[in-house]
């Protein structure tokens, strides 16, 4: 019995972590090129609502996922245009993306509130009460495995390939990269849109698998946690995944606390992840004497003239 409860917790942890991790990985890629995008929350919402609408209307899951990913990516190009091409403030622009994304998705999804989804991304094998780790893993759907694949690929590309090194160089020191002949604007633009696409995938996972329905503001702050995760992970894919597991665990734990007989207030437990992130952030900053792993140029627009 305890096993089933524990496995249930593990199952919920993996699902919550997948949702957080994919969007966080996208943000990591964007930030590696030096573009801070505070619009994760908005991009996830756009991906979630467009994916859900397509699924209701066509009942074609593959198409829904593509639509969700693409629309979030196109939406994120607003940020890319304003910050990369027009060199405007990244904080402001990212924040607009969040506000606009939440408003637009509520507007689009208005007619879809309460509608029941006929199709859902199926898990590899549907097990109602998984009793061992293998069964928990089989109970996940393909996006979970895709997330693992993306983690390995991103880490490999960033560390081992020429493309990844160039990407990092742009975010680290754009002036030096420019004199080396790298295309700063192009790299940053692509990085931002890839980040948007990842957030869109996260959104699709949210509405087509995690909670298969649509309501307003259903991202409920997860986009902001993704931003915290990137910092928590020191801009490294594997450590970000570890952070996602921790946050996912806390999200899964909160509704279960009372069944375990704890007297802790669930409201206070919900605060814990945010406090932990601040503490980790402070420790990282002190421990590494300011070198938290943040790309050197993050948040700073690049001017050719400055060369």
């Amino acid at each position: 019995m305890v096993d089933i409860q524990l496995m249930g917790l593990l199952n919920a942890t993996l699902q919550a972590a997948t949702l957080l991790f994919i969007a966080a990985l996208g943000e990591l890629i964007a930030e590696k090129t030096g573009i801070l995008n505070l619009g994760v929350e908005g991009m996830i919402s756009i991906g979630a609502v467009t994916g859900f609408m397509t699924a209701i209307n066509t009942e074609n899951l593959f198409l829904s996922i593509i639509v969700g990913v693409l629309s979030a990516s196109i939406f994120s190009s607003i940020h890319a245009f304003v910050t990369v091409i027009l060199k405007q403030d990244q904080t402001v622009s990212g924040l607009i993306l969040t506000i606009l994304g939440l408003a637009l998705s509520s507007l689009l999804g208005k007619k879809y509130v309460g509608k029941k989804l006929m199709v859902k991304i199926e898990s590899i094998r549907d097990i109602a009460e998984p009793s061992n780790i293998l069964e928990v893993l089989l109970n996940q759907n393909f996006i979970f495995y895709l997330a693992i694949l993306l983690m390995i690929t991103t880490s490999f590309v960033l560390k081992k390939t020429m493309f990844g090194r160039r990407l990092e160089a742009v975010g680290e020191d754009s002036t030096a990269s420019d004199s080396m002949g790298l295309k700063i604007n192009k790299t940053q633009f692509i990085g931002t849109c890839v980040g948007g696409a990842f957030a869109g995938l996260s959104g699709v996972y949210l509405t087509l698998s995690y909670v298969p329905y649509w309501t307003d503001n259903m991202t409920s702050g997860r986009g902001w946690i993704c931003l915290a995760l990137v910092i928590f992970g020191g801009w490294k894919p594997y450590r970000t995944a570890l952070g996602a597991l921790l946050f996912g665990f806390l999200e899964a734990l909160v509704p279960r606390l009372q069944t375990y007989g704890f007297e802790l207030s669930p409201y206070l437990v919900k605060i814990a992840p945010y406090l932990i992130t601040i503490i980790v952030l402070v420790i990282l900053t002190i421990y590494k004497e300011g070198k938290t792993g943040a790309p050197g140029n993050i948040g700073r627009p690049f001017f050719r003239e400055n060369r």
Binding site: T91, K110, L268, Y274, F303, R304
Partner: protein, 352 residues
């Protein structure tokens, strides 16, 4: 081969920010109209209704100005912090902690003179906002931790604390379905000036002038700008940049906290999750759109307050209230785009 590069214009029109805002507003209204048209609504009917119900009568006008109060105060706080080139994304949390501080003092002490009591409560709101930003301020100044993320995360901590308080220790047994603390007594309600307009608006005007003076005219404001500009200049000028940043953050947080106190004492009259409906985030738009100028924040704050009220009332004819959010956000995007053309020029350079 000819190359094209961006360069900053040497002379920027003084009114560039204002023109950018106007162009942005036109773009925002156009995009809003398109969205309304897609939804089979006549934009002219909807906008004239919004106008009528947000500024058309004394009652609606005063309601709009009431909504402007938190936007203006939080926006001013953000602009003060921006003098030292720091971002405050945590105004939302500071508004909540300001209201919580007011309620905490209200429950625990009792002063018979109601004017004095209100004064003390307003001050505790200000202090509550400052306390809210204390952790980000200390970690920024001492360790150099990025304030964007810490102020943002404190929002969720404080909102979590609010939810805990109104469901737990402060829960009013009389509020059954909607978790909220007990109402404060009528003796501490902020008096109204005309219509529904709370006297908080006068405080707002006072603080706008204060922020303008602080930022533009005072020695402290000058030192803040140097501290935010270049650390070397600050060292040569003998200015303690960290100290300036610290105080700018505490003051900025306090402004937002005061907004929470006024919201509690004049609008909601009790602590609940409804103290702020995203005012802290909209305030960032308001501050950014005006280029962080206090007088501009006051005016745009009033406009956005009316827009929020307008958005809320058109729900009754079946139009989504999110149209107001969309207009606000696209106005800022439009303003940013036109700001680009006011400040940059594309120069042709010959390579080699």
């Amino acid at each position: 081969m000819n190359n094209y590069i961006l360069s900053k214009k040497t002379v920027v029109n003084d009114l560039a920010t204002f023109y950018s805002f106007l162009i942005g507003l036109i773009i925002g209204i156009c995009i809003g109209s398109v969205i309304l048209l897609i939804q089979d609504q006549n934009p002219i009917t909807v906008f004239s209704l919004m106008l009528k119900l947000s500024v058309g009568s004394i009652n609606s006008l005063s309601g709009s100005l009431n909504k402007a109060i938190p936007l203006i105060l939080a926006g001013l706080g953000i602009s003060i912090m921006n003098s030292v080139k720091l971002w405050n994304i945590g105004a939302e949390g500071q508004i909540f902690l300001g209201a919580i501080a007011v309620n905490l003092i209200y429950i625990n002490i009792n002063i018979s003179n109601s004017n004095l009591f209100i004064f003390i409560l307003l001050i505790s709101g200000f202090i509550g906002g400052s306390v809210c930003i204390l952790l980000p301020a200390v970690t920024k100044v001492v360790f150099g931790v990025n304030e964007i993320i810490t102020t943002l995360l404190t929002n969720y901590i404080i909102i979590g604390l609010t939810v805990y308080l109104v469901n737990g220790p402060w829960k009013d047994p009389k509020s059954l379905n909607f978790p909220a603390a007990a109402y404060v007594g009528e003796e501490v309600y902020l008096p109204t000036i005309f219509g529904k307009l709370s006297s908080g608006f006068l405080i707002c005007i006072l603080f706008t002038i204060g922020a303008y003076y602080l930022k533009e005219k005072s020695v402290f404001g000058y030192e803040m700008r140097i501290a935010g500009g270049s650390s070397m200049t600050a060292i040569y000028a003998g200015i303690n940049a960290k100290q300036k940043a610290f105080f700018a953050m505490l003051i900025g947080g306090g402004f937002a906290g005061l907004a929470g106190a006024i919201e509690l004492l004049s609008q909601t009259h009790r602590v609940s999750i409804g103290i702020s409906q995203g005012f802290g985030y909209t305030a960032i738009i308001v501050a950014a759109i005006t280029g962080m100028r206090p007088i501009g924040i006051f005016l745009v704050g009033c406009l956005f307050g009316a827009l929020t009220i307008g958005g809320a009332v058109i729900q009754t004819i079946g139009v989504s209230s999110y149209i107001a959010d969309i207009i606000q956000a696209t106005t800022l995007i439009g303003a940013l785009v036109s700001q680009f053309f006011f400040t940059y020029q594309i120069k042709e350079v010959k390579d080699g």
